[in-house]
Symmetry: C2
Subunit: 203 residues, 2 copies
């Protein structure tokens, strides 16, 4: 589904990201942009299914993705939301070439950039600024995951919910409550109690 208009918008949007956020030098942009591909996917379409080896990392240009697991009782457990400007992938599956335990699909119609498994290494050897930024992303990812574990083992439902709002300020109204509850590791009933209590204190 790659029509030319979409592709042009996508390229210039990602080019801006590389220049403004990653600080990639002008001369390194063309070889980096040459290595990526684009995809537009519809709501509920899959980018990764359990058992597949994850072949790409995804950067969300527009829309909203999620990554989740399904347990043996068929219940979904939400690892990550990925709205605009977020990366999502099963790094472990890509890096270790092992079948993934996770699914990635679209909560909304989305436009994504796809990076194949050799991208990071190649891009790092072309642009030192990209290498630094990639390390920043990885370290930041570790920090977020550690913080989330700390909240899951140590914080009550309200504190987890407040952290969620802080982490994903743009998701309000775009995600059903049961998905948020799943992300927080609490029941939808508990989430509903937390929201009522917060609303009472800050109407």
């Amino acid at each position: 589904m790659d029509h030319p208009d979409f592709k042009n918008t996508a390229i210039s949007s990602f080019e801006k990201y590389l220049q403004d956020k990653v600080l990639v030098k002008q001369e390194h942009l063309p070889p980096l942009l040459e290595m990526i591909s684009f995809k537009s996917i519809q709501k509920q379409e899959f980018l990764l299914s359990k058992g597949d080896v994850c072949e790409h990392a995804f950067f969300v240009l527009s829309g909203l993705l999620r990554m989740y697991s399904i347990d043996k009782n068929g219940k979904e457990h939400l690892l990550q939301f990925a709205p605009e400007n977020w990366f999502v992938s099963d790094r472990g599956s890509i890096y270790f070439s092992q079948p993934s335990n996770y699914f990635i699909d679209a909560i909304e119609d989305s436009m994504v950039i796809m990076f194949d498994r050799s991208f990071t290494e190649k891009a790092s050897s072309i642009s030192p600024e990209f290498r630094n930024y990639n390390e920043y992303l990885l370290q930041n990812h570790v920090r977020q995951l550690q913080n989330r574990i700390n909240l899951l083992i140590g914080a009550d439902a309200e504190k987890r919910y407040l952290d969620f709002i802080n982490q994903y300020p743009d998701l309000f109204g775009r995600v059903p409550q049961w998905m948020i509850a799943s992300y927080l590791g609490i029941t939808p009933e508990s989430l509903s109690r937390v929201r009522k209590a917060l609303h009472k204190r800050n109407p």
Copy 2:
């Protein structure tokens, strides 16, 4: 507390690790070994306290460390155990030079190697093998953290406990039950029930 015997044992033990596991080339060993320092610490001694910027990563030569947080009610929440051959640090605090939310202390008398914040970059520029291994460690860390989050939001106490035993086979008998319960995000009572049920099925 660096007496010469300890230091010699520590150096040769870490040298072996660099050769056998990290595959560092013979000629790169001396500059790498020159950059590290050693410390022997006693049970309950601290290597990091909340509010401090974490200045070192630690590699455990012998003994056992833990990393944990303390919530506003004074309750401890255990992020990680670090027995022999494990690394432990608050990567986020080191990398972003921000005050840590965590504590690292010794559960047993321990011998550790200390790496300061510039070590990874310098060692990577000296030895490509070290750079690769460090990336492997970081990717593996992300995979483990993600797996743990998945268990915390999606698995029951028994499944979490079985994963813990698998992850830390050497900890049996070295760690009090309440610390394991804290790591698993369950109550000590629930851990005791899980252990009884498992013992009944596999006496």
